[in-house]
Every structure is written in structure tokens, then in C-alpha cells.
């Protein structure tokens, strides 16, 4: 045990021999070579180059696990105490890689192939054909266009949610009751919402809302008949479910604002509106951006209500990308093309969210 050096952070000062280091490296590279070899053999077997007799991909999986174990072990061998620290993170990182990166790579492989589950020929690599097909697919572009509308509706939802949050933050009677009551729609599954509201309450003949509409003088109420109306109703149902979510996040933000700030603004003679616009709103921006961002992510997944209520109709007016991919993938077993559409959607989402976050960053920072 040494008594020199960084005594505060180092528990044991390792004295690691060159032979031990060599063994560690050999362990890593040896197991890695084994992994590569098994993977190549497996690929060769799959592609028909060599007859090895691997019926599943398990040998490669086992080789990966062996390599992962060796990699972790070698950290300790090579780096001693420092390596032990790495062990706190490395297995988790390897696990994430195996569950995210590897499927993503396989997914990309599928996305660039022609794979209809009903085709006797199975999967065939087809290069960029799926991209070309997507480029010329009016259904996909229509769905993407609809997504722009659906996402834009978040601004309205945000305004309503903010208003509700302000109300619930105010000194009103039965505040606790309203907080719970307003949260209820969020607790419902969108599938339940689509059946209870979309298919029952909005049913044109017997639905209570249709009756109300008739009583109000609308002779032949039709909630999903015209493209604009159908899109609007889908937005409303989705908003009804998720406004409480934004509301609760904004409410939490409101409650975190110190009371002194409002009191100070009042002392300075700010009106209610000025106090909101100059104090509350800027302070709420971080919470708002988070709420909107999470809401966008929810919105981009919008599918269940559409699938249940309109199946994307009339004429594709309510189709979302997810509901279109669902039909392409599930009803038409078009695995390759469906995967490509999902991948492209993923890329679009990543780009859009990155831009949004950059912009949000720019909006927010000059204020302070």
C-alpha cells in the first residue's frame, strides 16, 4: 500500500504488471475475434456461403455475451481499481447497446428490403426502392401533412392548459376537487375515449351529443362526415385526453414560482396582465417548453383514436403516420416498407425536435 499520490480518491494503488495488462488485452481482443468469427460464420450460413449448421442467431448472441463479460473483466485486469469503477456503467451501456443499437441496425436492414410476409421468397434487399416508393406514396405524404396539423393544434391545447392551470392555481373553491376532476380524462385509455366518445356519444343517430346538436338546430349532425370536421373532432378528442397532462405540468411550474415575485411586482404597481406577462410567463417558459415537447412526442404517436374512430377516413383526412404504418404493416404485412416509413418518421422527428429545442433555447436565454 502506497502512502503517496492521491490518497483521497484512490482506495488501492494498483501495481499492474505488463503481463497482466497483456492478458487483459488478449482477453478483450480474443473474445472480440471470437465474436466476429461467429458472426461471420453465422452470416455465411445465413447467406449460404458456408454450411455451419446454425439454425438461429443464438450463437452470435452467446459470443456477444462472452465478449461483454470478457470486456468487463478485462477492465479490472488492465486498470485495476479504475476498472472497477468502469464496471458500474459498462454493463448497463452494453445492455443498452444490445437492446437499442443492434435492433436498430437490424431494423435498418429490414427497412431497405422488400419483405412482404406473404411472399414465398422471403426478404430481399432492394436498395433504395422503398425510399422511392415512399417518395411517390400519396398516403404517406397525406399522413405527414395531417401530422403538421395535429402538431400545430398543440399551441391551442397549450393555451387552454395554461388557462386551466392558472385557474386551478388561484384561490378558488373546491380547488382540490377540480384538480382531480380535470385530471380524469388523462386516466382514460385513448381506446376507451375513442369508443365512449367517438363511437358512442358522437354516434349520429342516438349519441347524446348528436341529439344535443339536433336540439340546437343542426338538422343532420355529422361529426366525421367532412374531412375538416373529422380532423377537428380527432384533435378535440386527443386534446381532451391530454390537456390535463400539460395542465398538471404547468400547474407544478406555477406552484414553484415564489410568491415574493408576484408580491414585488404588485408593489411596483404591475397590473394583473403585466404581472402575468412579465413575471409568470417568462418564469414558466422552461416548464412550458418541457410540457410542449413531451406533448409533441405524445402527439406524434397519435394512432389509437384514429384507428378506432375513423380508420384514417374520410379519404385519408384524419390519417396519422402511425395509423398509416399500422395499416401498411399489420393489414398488408408489408414489413420492409412499413419499417422504412417508421425509420424516416424517426429521422424527421429527431430533426424536428432538435430544431425545436435549439429555438426554444434561443427564445429563453435572452430573457434572463
Amino acid at each position: 500500500m502506497s502512502n503517496a499520490g492521491d490518497l483521497l480518491h484512490v482506495v488501492t494503488a494498483d501495481d499492474i504488471s505488463d503481463r497482466r495488462r497483456f492478458f487483459g488485452r488478449a482477453l478483450i481482443w480474443g473474445s472480440f475475434a471470437a465474436l466476429v468469427l461467429v458472426a461471420l460464420l453465422q452470416a455465411g450460413d445465413k447467406l449460404g456461403w458456408a454450411e455451419v449448421g446454425f439454425s438461429t442467431w443464438r450463437p452470435t448472441l452467446y459470443a456477444y455475451i462472452v465478449w461483454a463479460v470478457c470486456l468487463c473483466w478485462a477492465q479490472v485486469i488492465i486498470r485495476g481499481e479504475q476498472g472497477k469503477r468502469v464496471l458500474f456503467v459498462l454493463p448497463a451501456a452494453l445492455f443498452v447497446i444490445s437492446l437499442v443499437v443492434i435492433p436498430l441496425v437490424f431494423g435498418l436492414g429490414i427497412a431497405f428490403s422488400d419483405w412482404n410476409l406473404s411472399s414465398p421468397d422471403g426478404r430481399k434487399f432492394n436498395g433504395l426502392n422503398n425510399v422511392r416508393q415512399m417518395w411517390a406514396d400519396p398516403f404517406y405524404w397525406n399522413a405527414l401533412g395531417n401530422m403538421v396539423w395535429y402538431t400545430a393544434a398543440i399551441l391551442v391545447e397549450y393555451t387552454i392548459a395554461f388557462g386551466l392551470a392558472l385557474l386551478l392555481n388561484a384561490e378558488i373553491k373546491a380547488r382540490k376537487f377540480f384538480r382531480v376532476a380535470f385530471l380524469l380524462p388523462l386516466m382514460l385509455s385513448p381506446v376507451a375515449v375513442s369508443w365512449m366518445i367517438g363511437k358512442s356519444m358522437l354516434e349520429v343517430r342516438f349519441g347524446p351529443l348528436a341529439r344535443l346538436a339536433r336540439w340546437l338546430g343542426w338538422d343532420n349532425p355529422s361529426f366525421f362526415g367532412s374531412p375538416e370536421m373529422a380532423k377537428f373532432m380527432i384533435m378535440v378528442m386527443d386534446a381532451w385526453t391530454f390537456i390535463p397532462f400539460m395542465m398538471i405540468m404547468i400547474l407544478a411550474g406555477l406552484q414553484a414560482i415564489p410568491k415574493e415575485l408576484h408580491e414585488a411586482s404588485r408593489v411596483d404597481g404591475a397590473s394583473g396582465w403585466r404581472s402575468f406577462w412579465e413575471v409568470t410567463f417568462p418564469l414558466m417558459l422552461p416548464a412550458s417548453i418541457t410540457a410542449i415537447l413531451i406533448r409533441i412526442i405524445f402527439k406524434l404517436k397519435l394512432a389509437d383514436i384514429i384507428i378506432n374512430v375513423t380508420s384514417g377516413g374520410p379519404g385519408g383526412a384524419t390519417d396519422s403516420v402511425t395509423s398509416f404504418i399500422f395499416r401498411e404493416y399489420r393489414d398488408r404485412s408489408n414489413v420492409g416498407y412499413g419499417t422504412l416509413l417508421a425509420m424516416v418518421y424517426l429521422v424527421l422527428i429527431v430533426i424536428a425536435i432538435t430544431i425545436f429545442m435549439k429555438l426554444a433555447d434561443r427564445w429563453m436565454n435572452p430573457r434572463y
Binding site: N116, L117, S118, S119, P120, V204, S311, G313, D331, R332
Partner: protein
């Protein structure tokens, strides 16, 4: 029989209790004797077995339980005993994949096969699937080459995916004799269940569309004055005229606006396309050719030929005369929320709409509903000559929408003769003539599919109301045995074609295409893409095989 039908019949008193005491007495006597050894018991029923099994648990005595299924399975063991010695399959293990809808299907099969297992010595392992999981599971098994079941409950549309790829085992001749295959109704006879002349399927279910209409629309003075029709329409031309003429009248039952024939305009996961087929089959299913969806030589879609376009045009023509929001009505809506609730006067649907009409609490059309086979057409398009023809009699072509369930044996057992015989023996037990009568009379999830199921005396003897059962089953029987029935092609991916057609039709109905012809052309183009993707040559070969060409 479908569960909901059975329950509704019970509620509405359509099942009489006349025979219940009789049934209880005989079952009671049997149990008082302490039960006989299985072989004796099964054999002793002899020719009476059909009447005896219908007493288990007794019509009107509540839903049958596992004990009842086992009892029925045991009493129907006779044909198995004739072909299999006791304990012959000792040590054989089989895997059976099927559905668990409404706790039926596999649940029944388990009960039915338990005595079979006891007698033969074989053991069955079960894979239960929900309906929604069924197609993906089957297709993934096929696509990834991981078929892990020996016996499978499967719909005929999948025969292309399975038999077409050599995944099924050919039915031995002794099975055909054991299940009395000749008794099965006309449309389920070969080529259904066969590929390249080989038989693979033991039918356990049947399905077809029939025309249900409101009789009171043809007696109501105001409506008949407006339409000039006192008899229900028998052709689509009459249906069109009626639907247009009835607009503006009031429904005799509900007093609300009257409507004619209801077309579902919204997709239904591919199943919605059957309803366009109902119209189109009369126009395009020429008696001289079994093909009506694709040209069997080229797989070129027929869906944009003048006959199909006429069918699409018909739908578009009557759209203004349909209830508001019809664009958002799928087939389930038209049947259960509209027709049964008193909106509209005509509909094409499967058998259960007819029976629900009389027995469901939600139905107001009660005793004013009548049935016939699907309407025909005054003229029929001959795809071979590309000409419209006007036959002396209207052209009828009932739509055999979905071919019902069957039991199949996979080629996993082909190499092992003992296992193969065991698998076929189990399947044959489920598809037996007597056991099938029980399945069509009690909740099972299956419809009648044998000519012997239409012996109304047996139903009456068991305690059913004869007039009711004749009405319920009659139009089905007429459709099943029609010589020009439009039969679904059993090619791989048939529902993919239906699904994309629904999407394109939705655009057409929403006015995004210029005409019915453009809509049909868009469907045809999409179908060509699917055919190319799945493989044109193999599709042609499989389509021909499915048509028996």
C-alpha cells in the same frame, strides 16, 4: 352456433323448454348408473347419438361447460374407434394451435379431445391465441420458418400461405370417410380445402353473406306508393331504384327518415371489401368462369373492369341517399347500429345479423325482417369476351365472404407415420359429422356447414322453435349450395388486396378521384404492386390451384 346468437335466443324464448325435462331425465339416468366404461358408452349410442348429444347439457339449460364438451367428445368417439385401436398412439405428443375467442374454439377442442386422448394414449399441447394475435403469429411462423405446431385451426384464406408453400400434410383417404366429407355444403367442397388436387382441410365452419331486408317497407302504403314496389328487390338494379325512391319517406317503425340499402363506406381492416363484393359479384361472376377478382392467366386485376366499376358507381350513386355520416360507417355500424336499430331497409351481412334481428335487445326490426340470397343483376359482364350480357334470368352470385374455419395438419408430422395418423385422427374427431351438429346447435363460435345441419326436425326435436330456425338457416343453405357462388380466392395475402382496396375506395368515396373508373384503376394499380411484391408467377400458380384450374 355463435355465442351471442345462442344467448339472444335464450333471452327471447326462441329456444323452447319442451325437451329440457326429457334431456335431463336421460342424462340423470346415465349418471345414476355411475357411468359406463368409455368405449361401451360411446358405442352403445349407435344411430341415436345425434339426438343424445343434443341433450347435453340440454337446450335452454345454460351454457355448456367443459364437462359437457368432454361428454360430447366421448359420445362422438365412435368413428375414431373404427379407425384407431385403443392406446395406439401411446407416447405421441402433438401441438395444436388455435384461437381462444370468447373462451371457445380451443377451449371446446380441449374438452372434445380429452376422451380422444384417453382412448388413443396421445397427448396434446395447446397454443391459444387471441383473434388479433392470430394472423401475425401465423404469418411470422411462416415467414421465419418456425412452424411449431402439428395441428392448426385456420381460415381457408390462409391456405395459399400454408398449403401453397408445402407446409401442410395431405389428408389421408380414411379421414375423408371418417368425417363423411360428402355431407359438407356445396361451396366448401373442393376446390376449397385443396391445393393442386390434394385435400388438406377438415372443415368445421361456414360463412356467407345473405341479403336482409325490411318487409314492412313493401307493405307500408306511403312507401309503396313512392317506390311502386310491393316485393323485396331481387336485383341490384331494383335495389338502386328502391334506395333512390324511398328517400324522403318515413320509416314505418321508428318514424324517422327512411333509407334504402346501406353500404358501409368506411374500411374494416380489409373485411369492408366484402361488401363491395356483394354488389360486384352479381355483375362480374359469370357462370362460365370461377374467376372474378383476377385474370387467372396473368393475375391482372379485374377490379377495374366495367362490372366492378358499375358496382363502385352504384355505391357512389346512392351515397347522397344514405344517412348522414355514412362515410364514417363501417360494416359493424351499418349492421348493428343502423339496420338493427331501425335505420335503413336493406343490408348484406353474415348469418348473425338475421338472427340478431329477431332476438337482440338492441334490435327494433324484430319480426319485420326477411332474408334471401344476395341480389342478382339483370346483366352480367363477361370478362372473357369483354362484353355485357343479358341472361334470360338475372345473374345471381352469392358472396361466400370468408370461407370459415378448418382444421389442418402441418407437414411437421409427415415423416412419422404414427404421429401423422394421430394428428389426422384428432382433427377428424373435431370435424366429425355428429360432433359438428352439436357445435352448430350450441355456442361454439362456428356456423352450420353440412347439409345434415339443415335437417330442421333434429333442431325441433332438440327444443328449438322450428319457424325461427328455418328462417335463420334457410337463406344460408340457399347461398351455400348456389351453383354460381362467388368464392374467395385462397391466395397468399388476399387481405392485403382487400386492405389497400379499402384505402383507395375511401378516397374515391370522399371525392378525391374523378370517377368510379379512376377509383377502380387506383385499386388495380395497387393490386398489381402487391402481386409483383409477393411474386406474380407464384400468385398465378396459386390462384389457378385455388380455383381448381
Amino acid at each position: 352456433m355463435k355465442v351471442e346468437i345462442y344467448n339472444q335466443m335464450l333471452k327471447a324464448g326462441k329456444i323452447s323448454r319442451r325437451n329440457v325435462m326429457k334431456g335431463m331425465a336421460s342424462v340423470g339416468a346415465l349418471s345414476a348408473m355411475g357411468g359406463l366404461p368409455a368405449p361401451v358408452r360411446a358405442a352403445s349410442h349407435g344411430g341415436n347419438v345425434r339426438a343424445e348429444i343434443l341433450k347435453i347439457p340440454g337446450v335452454g339449460m345454460g351454457s355448456p361447460t367443459d364437462a359437457d364438451w368432454q361428454k360430447v367428445g366421448e359420445m362422438c368417439l365412435g368413428p375414431t374407434m373404427a379407425n384407431v385401436a385403443e392406446g395406439e398412439f401411446a407416447g405421441v405428443e402433438l401441438t395444436f394451435m388455435g384461437l381462444n375467442n370468447q373462451n371457445l374454439h380451443n377451449f371446446l377442442f380441449r374438452g372434445f379431445l380429452k376422451p380422444w386422448e384417453a382412448y388413443t394414449g396421445a397427448k396434446i399441447n395447446w397454443i391459444d391465441l387471441a383473434q388479433a394475435d392470430y394472423n401475425p403469429r401465423l404469418q411470422q411462423s411462416i415467414a421465419t420458418g418456425t412452424v411449431d405446431f402439428d395441428i392448426i385451426e385456420m381460415g381457408a384464406p390462409f391456405e395459399g400461405d400454408t398449403a401453397g408453400r408445402g407446409l401442410l400434410d395431405e389428408m389421408p383417404d380414411w379421414v375423408k370417410d371418417q368425417i363423411e366429407a360428402d355431407d359438407i355444403v356445396g361451396y366448401l367442397q373442393p376446390p376449397v380445402g385443396t391445393w393442386d388436387g390434394k385435400t388438406y382441410r377438415i372443415t368445421i365452419d361456414g360463412d356467407c353473406h345473405t341479403f336482409a331486408y325490411r318487409k314492412d317497407y313493401f307493405t307500408d302504403p306511403a312507401i309503396t306508393a313512392a317506390t311502386g314496389m310491393t316485393e323485396p328487390p331481387t336485383t341490384w338494379q331494383q335495389v338502386q331504384a328502391f334506395t333512390k325512391a324511398v328517400k324522403g319517406q318515413k320509416d314505418p317503425l321508428t318514424g324517422l327518415d327512411a333509407y334504402g340499402f346501406l353500404d358501409p363506406l368506411k374500411g374494416w381492416g380489409g373485411f369492408g371489401f366484402y361488401f363491395l363484393e356483394d354488389r360486384a359479384s352479381a355483375y362480374v361472376k359469370h357462370p362460365d368462369s370461377p374467376a372474378w377478382l383476377f385474370d387467372p392467366e396473368t393475375m391482372k386485376p379485374m377490379v377495374n373492369n366495367p362490372g366492378w366499376v358499375q358496382a363502385i358507381q352504384d355505391v357512389m350513386d346512392t351515397m347522397p341517399d344514405l344517412p348522414p355520416d355514412q362515410i364514417n360507417a363501417d360494416p359493424g355500424t351499418t349492421a348493428f347500429q343502423q339496420f338493427l336499430a331501425g335505420t335503413g331497409s336493406g343490408i348484406c351481412w353474415w348469418g348473425d345479423v338475421g338472427s340478431s334481428a329477431r332476438t337482440s335487445d338492441g334490435s327494433v326490426v324484430g319480426d319485420v325482417v326477411g332474408f334471401s340470397i344476395n341480389p342478382g343483376s339483370d346483366r352480367v359482364y363477361n370478362a372473357k369476351t369483354s362484353e355485357w350480357e343479358t341472361p334470360a334470368e338475372p345473374n345471381f352470385a352469392p358472396n361466400m365472404a370468408y370461407l370459415g374455419w378448418g382444421v389442418y395438419v402441418t407437414s411437421r408430422v409427415s415423416g412419422d407415420e404414427k404421429k401423422r395418423k394421430a394428428a389426422w385422427s384428432a382433427a377428424a374427431h373435431l370435424g366429425g359429422k355428429d360432433i359438428s351438429l352439436w357445435m352448430s346447435a350450441y355456442p361454439s363460435g362456428f356456423q352450420p356447414y353440412r347439409n345434415s345441419h339443415f335437417q330442421y326436425d333434429e333442431w325441433e326435436e332438440a327444443g328449438y322453435d322450428r319457424a325461427y330456425i328455418e328462417d335463420y338457416l334457410g337463406s344460408n343453405a340457399d347461398s351455400y349450395n348456389h351453383p354460381n357462388a362467388a368464392i374467395e380466392p385462397r391466395i397468399p395475402g388476399i387481405f392485403q388486396y382487400y386492405s389497400i382496396a379499402e384505402d383507395e375506395l375511401a378516397k374515391g368515396f370522399a371525392g378525391q378521384y374523378g370517377s368510379a373508373q379512376e377509383t377502380a384503376d387506383a385499386i388495380a394499380a395497387a393490386w398489381e404492386k402487391i402481386t409483383d411484391q409477393i411474386g406474380r408467377d407464384s400468385q398465378i400458380a396459386l390462384y389457378k390451384a385455388s380455383l381448381g384450374m
